[in-house]
Amino acid sequence: MLRIENLSVSYGAIQALNDVSLEVPPGRVTAVIGANGAGKSTLMRTLAGLEKPQSGQVIFNGEVISGRKPEDIVRMGIALVPEGRSTISELSVEDNLKLGGMWRSHAQRNASLTRVYSLFPILKERHHMGADTLSGGERQQLAIGRALMTGPQLLLLDEPSLGLAPLIVTQILELVALMARDSGLAVLLVEQNATVALRIARTGVVLNLGEVAGSGTSAELLASEELRHIYLGTGS
Amino acid sequence: MSMKIPESIRELPGAFFLRNAIIVSAVAGVFLLINTQLEPTYSFYLAQAAMYATAMFGMVILVGLSGQVSLGNGALMAVGAYTFAITSMNWQTVPILGLPWNAVWSVVTAGLVGVIAGLLIGGLGARLSGPYLAGLTLGIAVGLPSIIYRFPSFLGGEDGFALRVPFPPGGYAAQDGGEVSAADAAAEEMSNEGFEDFLAEAGGDSSEILEFDQEELATGETPLVEDEVLEFDQDELSLEQESTPDLVQDVDGESPPAEISESEDSFVDLVDESAGVIDLTGFVIEQWQASLAVVMAAIVGFIALNLIRGNQGRIWKAVRDDPVAASLVGLSPQSNKVSAFVISGFFAALAGAVMAQIFAYVGPALFGLTLSLSLLVGVILGGRSSLVGAMVGAAFIVVLPKAMETFAQQLGWEDRVADNLPNLVYGLLVVLVVLVLPAGLVGSLMVAIRRRTQR
């Protein structure tokens, strides 16, 4: 579904991603793990079109998407929930949701809205309130809801657990796993907490200093020396 | 072979000041020398350029180093010019501290009042960022003429003051003798016919804008629907233009509404006509004015150089680039923004005092928004953070109109086009420089040279 080939991204002199290649299959969750500054967010932002790659390419459903604008990429079916609170606090909850996927037909958008409200009932309850009145966890739900409103085939989640209570994290991640299984949605999930991420994901990739340090099934990665190295700070 | 100076000596503050003093005196010396060889007209351009440069050194510190875009420096020049005018008129005969240097005392007073004005505006502006400060100072620039109109007796109202400037030993040529100096004649001319008329017009414009007095409108005093009124106006005005064809020359490098520039042009033309009046010391008046302006620019340039290259320059830049980080290391962003304003107020006021002397006149028409815009334009063109850039910018705003005028004459363009060509060029150049060479002409050149030498 999504193929990343030899992708390199840099911020001036800082090489954030170096020759990264990986594949994201449909219908399941793929985890991306790695220490702070490993380049996880950079990978996600590049896939969504917010950063331009230095070299390499990204192919989605047979089309090269690297270098395109974010507003075009989201139309092709890739939705990013960026790191942090990516809601617009000046708008109401419902307006935040309605913002997603405005190019789609009225019927499609209504269907998506109903689905989001059934997934996150709290959003329906608060639909007329300002997004700034939501709690952190509710806001994260809103951010995911906004992404789902665009009708994605691939959902990019950048640390949805940041600053959330473990219970909510589990809830959200389980919902994500459910969506992947039921609707064929591909999910690329960035997580600091490797154990949690690998419990949800079927496969995973380890990033270290901008390079792929390892990949495999969750079970393999959890048992891997590589991973231990990186998290113990003795890595490469 | 470069001499090896021991660290201990290099670090002495004295060496630092000495080097700066040598640089500044060398530059000023060259200009003073050139001045003795110049035609009066060109001396007068030099005087104006030096006057603008004096004010722009303050803009370099304020806009360049401290990052505050201000349109209030024309108003600060007005403060200096008016202080100089009022004190020098009233202190003609009284020696101060036993010294009869009345004009010198007036200049010093002008500078001090400029410091206070800078403190006031800077204090108001220190809490404001970018567009808010620009807007506030813009308001000051636009509102200033109205403030001057409020005080007809103290500040001379719309007419302003014509000055007899007592600067060169013995005064400007023949103040009591038969001959009338160019400056005096110009001032006379300005405060008599023509000048008043257009001032009344210009003043009327700004004050009538918000006048929605329906009774007046009903009586037809304000231009109304009738096309006749309009045509009549145009006829009258074009008649006026025909009768004074020599007044439409643009020389002064400022960019005021054309009525204002016309009157200043007429002043410069008069200077041209009576050029060559010899002072007691053998100098032509314009040469005196130029030397005066250059010396003032040198004094101010020396202060600016020490500040910019010294510790304070680094502090201003640090506060500009990252106020939060600066305050974490104990530098107060607010007080360092105010200090930049105070310094630029001081410089602008001194420039204003020089302006009063080289024009021998102060009046609200000199200090409109256009003056502040010219200062900004000059500094941006030359290079926001460079004193040399300010000098180039000052030369630019004096020379460009002259060059454009010649250019337009050769192409046989109408006066209306020719008169406004410099402003159009300024505007486009400012946009272009901001887009393409954000460091200005001189700044970009220096960056390029540095790159080349490093290779």
Partner: protein, 291 residues
């Protein structure tokens, strides 16, 4: 003239100030730039409209010409100057707007000269007669007020009730999230500039009959509109309208009881007081910005 008369006389001028302030607000909301060239653009389109009026003799056509020209001029400034300049520090953008202002004023002086010109009002500018006296409120004032109210209502509806408005607001508040949601943000910003240009143009044509039009006579309007926009918080259309009309009333009172030359001083004092007393109000975004 009574106190009430002075108040009445300030409504129309306040409306025009409000419109100009709205133009500033629209640009600020879309690109976080205070467009100091806005009033220059309005001056230029007013001259264009005057030329059209002289050619056609039709006031409405001249107004439409101004609206179109305002949009085009706004787009030109946006694409040629402000978009390329956006990567630089804040001073660069501010200075560029002044460059545009200078260039526009010079071009207008070249094309139309600096002599004051009269712009004809479409309807009676002489006050209504009622109860045996003339009131300082004319058909023209009614027109100005009506157009302002209509425009403000229209803008509010567009911003709060339409999907276009939602996209524009989202682009202003958080361009990144808007782009990730599929909004073509650059189009929304351009639209903001075009809309501001048109509204400024309407303000220019509306105020033109009440004073002599020269390339420099709009400067004072710039100060007033800026003052109003800043007091209103720069982000709020409602604030711009309320403070705009309020300022018109205050200026009318000041002009009535002292003289009109004090108008710019009053504006300056208002601005300084506001910036001094509530700088946090200027920067803070606590207040609701739904409109």
């Amino acid at each position: 003239m009574t106190f009430f008369d002075h108040l009445l006389g300030g409504i129309a001028s306040g409306s025009v100030i409000a419109l100009m302030a709205i133009a500033l607000v629209l640009v600020w909301r879309s690109t976080r730039v205070v467009n100091f060239a806005q009033v220059g653009q309005a001056m230029f389109t007013t001259f264009l409209a005057l030329a059209v009026y002289r050619g056609t003799g039709n006031w409405l056509i001249s107004l439409i010409a101004a609206i179109l020209a305002g949009a085009i001029l706004g787009l030109i400034v946006h694409f040629l100057v402000m978009r390329p300049v956006r990567r630089q520090d804040g001073s660069g953008a501010i200075i560029a707007t002044f460059g545009v202002l200078i260039a526009l004023q010079a071009s207008a002086s070249m094309i139309w000269g600096v002599d004051p010109q009269a712009y004809p009002p479409i309807v009676d500018i002489i006050g209504f007669e009622a109860f045996g006296r003339t009131w300082p409120f004319s058909r023209y004032d009614v027109l100005v007020l009506g157009v302002t109210v209509l425009l403000v209502l229209l803008l509010s509806v567009v911003f709060t009730r339409t999907s276009l408005g939602l996209r524009m607001r989202a682009s202003a508040f958080n361009p990144t999230v808007a782009r990730l949601s599929g909004v073509r943000v650059s189009q929304m910003l351009a639209l903001g500039w075009a809309l501001a240009g048109s509204i400024g143009a309407i303000a220019g044509v509306l105020i033109a009959p009440t004073f002599s039009v020269t390339p420099y006579s709009f400067d004072i309007l710039l100060i007033l509109a800026f003052t109003v926009a800043v007091i209103g918080g720069l982000d709020s259309l409602v604030g711009a309208v309320a403070f705009g009309i309020g300022t018109g009333l205050v200026l009318s009172l000041v002009s009535g009881y002292s003289d009109s030359g004090n108008a710019s001083i009053v504006a300056l004092v208002l601005l300084a007081l506001n910036l001094l007393l509530k700088p946090e109000g200027v920067f803070a975004h606590h207040h609701s910005r739904s409109v």
